[in-house]
Amino acid sequence: MIQTAEKLEGNEVVQWEAPLRAHESMSTMVWRRFRRHPGAIAGSIMLGIIILTVILAPLSPYDPVTSDIPNRLQPPSLAHPFGTDQLGRDLLTRCLYGGRVSLTVGFMVVMITLVIGVPIGAVAGYFGGRVDNVLMRITDAALSLPSLLVLILLSAILRETDLPFFERNNVLTIALVIGSLSWMTNARLVRATYLTLRGKDFVTAANCMGASSLRIMGRHILPNTVGPIIVASTLEMGYAIMEEAGLSFLGFGIQPPTPSWGNLLSNAQEHLTKHPWLAIFPGLMIFLTIISINYIGDGLRDAFDPFKVLKQIGEV
């Protein structure tokens, strides 16, 4: 077992900690490594600030929906740091409320991809054979769908149906639509782990002791997939936010007057040349959120998989 390895950073030699330490839980170990990743820490702080301000949005003195025509299209000022839109609504307030929608959609999509992807991957990997073949062909088919086009199709269909629930393309509908096309990464990741672990001794042992397949899959193998799943889910949250923004930008996502970062940008298009702040700020919010999430994901990946880092710096 590797106890220490050295990593060359610039010209100085940095001590690299051992991948395994006795009496250290997985979470402590991951946290210890995560802390070392400057990008991940900066990303966490930034995302923390964004989440906090978004939660505190009701403290804003302005209402996100009521119009205030005399104050329309004001450029950024002290009273309105992001300016106001064509109905005189404070853009900062709308960005914060939009952030609630966008982040909620992102979080819900992650949950949906877990609920669909993990069982499919687990069953395919654990049972193998024909079950695996069928499930993986379905996964492949879903992967070769042009996802943005199908997203547009699904929301166009749901928008005109008379189902009471889906009628207005609300947050849950959009999350379901995006989630139903994003579970494949999880399924493949989980399948790969189950495929490697199902022949291991601890699985045979559990089997001999009479554990059911369900118990082995859930209790014995599942914990081993946590690392990759956390990393993939973090990145998935970023993709989901981007996809929701894109859909709403096209007019197929969250419908105004409910603000979301995407439909704020959509609204900004016609005012682009004269009132550019309408386009700049919502996009900046998306950009900052996603870059934070990606840095966090990168840090988590390194923290869960030190082997890869060690391999890249040539120590293994």
Binding site: S144, P146, L149, L153, G283
Partner: protein, 346 residues
Amino acid sequence: MGRYIARRLLQAIPMLLLISIVLFALVNLAPGGPLAGYSRSRHVKPERAAMLKRQFGLDQPVPVQYVIWLIGNDWMKVDADGDGIAESRGERRGILRGDFGFSFRTREPVLGEIGGRLLNTIYLMSVTLIVVAIIAIPVGIISAIKQYSFFDISVTTLSFMGQAIPEFWLGLILILVFYAWLDNPFTSEPLLPSGGMHSLDTGFSLLDWAKHLILPVTMGAVGWVAWYSRFLRSGMLDVLHMDYVRTARSKGLAERLVMYRHALKNAVIPLVTIFALDLPYIFAGSLYVELLFSWPGIGRLYYQSAVKRDYPLLMAILIIVAGLTILAGLMADIAYAYLDPRVRYD
């Protein structure tokens, strides 16, 4: 190798069928069906709605509609006038024989609507991908070779930013800067055009076409340059620590030779697969580009058809794109098997 290709081709067919069934069911099982917008409108008389339904074959059960859509109905009798007697021969030939039906909106054959626009999209995508390759490949290699140098760290930071920029926002900002803010110092016109493939009033000029490409290509390329340079960097780093690279170095080969003859070849192999997997996303990205820059391509056509609920056109574009994606995946697998002798064909 021949058997491998044949087997993969045979696997692709059920997959495409599965995709087509799912998409067809989605479109046709939605409450109200594809004509929901029509039949709810008060301006359309019920008789006319019924006639439209019959004309588009929507009065049939969905599985029958699927079969007709797939292989046509010219081999069976259909009831064209709605009197309950099937008397005339059908006229649809089915998508397997190149008949994608008629657009709800223009009543023109779908394939004619798609044809020219598909070429416009392919033209835009090809230029974008060439630009991506020209920038991303050298950048990825250099930053792997000079790992942790100033260049590498700046590239890594920039590529994080490039991957986080929403494409549609980038397009808006590009229009803002290069169309609204910056002027051509000689003519005081906007520096770059904000839409279209070429100017309408003047004749053909290469410079004019090139000018119309700059902003759309930039918008489409940034994210992919970021992603591929990062991908190539990590692929190159993986390869650089392989035993055979050490062997090459220890027998005294020049570093250049080791890098370009030994390492690079193996580092680009995974790129083939990842590129095939990315194709649908590249295609989707071009939808934003085409919309923002009024590019008469297939993505913009798809968007317009979705707004107008022109389902035959939507279905046709979806199937064509899915088919192209599966084909690209197939070619990537074959190329992979050819490039990497470790891949077994059986």
